[in-house]
Amino acid sequence: MIRRLACLFEYLFRRRRLENDLDEEVRSSFEMMVDQFVARGMSLAEARRVARIEFEGLEQVKERVRDGLVGSVLQAFLQDVVYAWRGLRRSPSFAIIALVTLALGIGVNTAIFSVFYGVLLHPLPYDQPGRLVRIWASYRDAGARAPLSGPMLGEIERRNRSLAAVGAIWVVAPRTFTGDDPEQVKSARVTVNFFDVLGVHAAHGRTFTKEDAGAPAVMLIDSTFRRRFGANPGLVGKGLPMQDAAATLVGVLPAEFQLQFAPDANVPADKQVFDPFGPNVRSMSGRFLRLVARLKPGVTLADAQRDLDRVSAEVRAASTALADNQLQFRLAGLQADAFGDIQPALTALFAGAAFVLLICCVNVTSLLLARASDRRKEIALRLTLGASRGRILRQLLAEGIVLCILGGAAGIAVAWAGFRGLLAIRPERLARIAGAGLSWPVLAFAGATSLADRGASVGTRHESESYELASLHAAAPHGGGGRYPKGSPAARSWRRYRRHRRGVSLDAARLCRAGGSGRRSPFCWSGAPIRTRRVHRGRCRSPGRGRRVTPKSKPISGVRAPDSRGVQQAAIGESRQRFGRRDLKHRP
């Protein structure tokens, strides 16, 4: 391994010496061989001729040596990349269209998925958020998503076996900081264990404890603490001047803390101050408590739901009023509950963006295929000069890689701009995306997809076939597609190739678009063999003035006749594009 690395190093950085050695060795060997032949009695000219035949070309020998060296693959790849770069600069319109397409595909996809991920997949900023659940009550008179009363909280706490802890929150009237610059702040009241249930630790001070229940204690969110109190940690544990009475600041929540509730919970995320319920919360009637619970380790949502079904049955058994009202408790994962309302919309948006990427890939591939067929002569020349097929395919792959890197860079720009745009217009519900940021894994995924797409297209039969055909071109007079001797295998193979290539690439594009729109795809090319025959205008005699028969009808009816060699369908067309000349096509 170390040896190989040393060789690679030598190859990359001491190229010149290696080349000189190689050149001198091959030349002196050639001369030695000439010497040998001269010693056997040949004339110098004859000896050189024979030695040249033996050697099969000095340059070719050197090339084979270079191919076998450690590092030659890397070198060849770098060469391919440079060549691809020059190729792109030579055809700027192609390069720009391909790059814009790729950039849009990658950029849009990344921006949309970043939102998708930030809202639905990015875990909530709590400890083990997967174990957090919301508890709703279902009443006959209040629907399936009602808040709970204090006694219900007590019943659940007492009777359940699946919940580690249950906390509750409700919104209270705004409070006012007094002082030189009075300010009203949005407030919420929580059970003293609320932040412990979420697994949120205070950034300064502590969260509420049992002793705080009913005491004049408050917690602040980070932004308010910074703005109003200059983030002065000395204030923690001191009294803050408030309108009703001074309240002790027990702690400050961390900057990433966010309340995450579904809109119908009516607990907005913009609360600035939290104070604790008193010990009497479990006797407060009225359905006002929004419950958050933490599952015991290893307990699934379904287990917990069964457990709460049992609890509600026990509660109903104890109270005829609640039994009449058909009380039930319903559980939902905290994150699923909070974003359940926008999940379908975001999923549809993401699926749309994925299709944009797919269509972009198909378009770029079609573009590259079209370009490949335009470059027949160039490829034929390289094949003639001795490039192997693998080498040419590698070069095309390198082109794809260059395109993808450039497209990826442009994609980052588009993604960034798109994401900023989405942030600027974000509705309040999507506040979370700001925290998640641009999703780099998705960017890598989108780039890799377009690269894989390119790789796959190089590997497909019709593209590699085009290079076999290019070698036919190399041998053909004038190197042109339509100029093979009529009826020669080369001409047949050329026609077959053109038909195949167009058919496959068009079909791929149609399939993607039709699939994307949910329609059935109207394929034009079904794969059944199509035969073409040229029809000469001269053969279709028109039977006199005024009764001009179109030149097409006769030969068609002739071919359509039942005896005509298993023909299924026949049609006539003038499409130069597809069949070269005025051809009759029919399907055996």
Binding site: R3, R4, C7, D21, L22, E24, E25, V26, S28, S29, F30, E31, M32, M33, D35, Q36, E54, F55, E56, Q60, V61, K62, R64, V65, D67, G68, L69, V70
Partner: protein, 106 residues
């Protein structure tokens, strides 16, 4: 006769076992010892020499040839000797296996 795939290295290592030689010498030695059965063309010889050198089995050094040309002389290294022994063993195993198969009766 075509040189069997993978045996060129063995031929070269064996040729160099006796004395350091330049490339043309190696080819001539192989041709001579095998009585003309194996002719190693430069197109195969030089890539193989470079490959063996990169693997550390042989070492090349410039020196004067018989006709006072500069030639690159290759010497078998210690690793090369070990490799030669290993390849010889493999070869004998393979040929005897082939022989058993070809000479088996019934």
């Amino acid at each position: 006769m075509d040189i069997l795939q993978g045996t060129l290295d063995l031929l070269i290592l064996r040729a160099l076992e006796l004395a350091p030689m330049h490339g043309v010498g190696v080819a001539a030695r192989i041709e001579q010892v095998t009585r003309g059965a194996f002719v190693v063309k430069p197109g195969s010889l030089f890539p193989a020499l470079r490959r063996l050198e990169q693997r550390g089995w042989i070492e090349g050094e410039w020196g004067p040839s018989e006709n006072n040309r500069r030639a690159r002389y290759y010497t078998l290294t210690r690793a090369g000797r070990a490799q030669l022994a290993e390849e010889k063993r493999n070869w004998y195993r393979m040929t005897s296996a082939m022989n058993w198969m070809l000479e088996s009766e019934g």
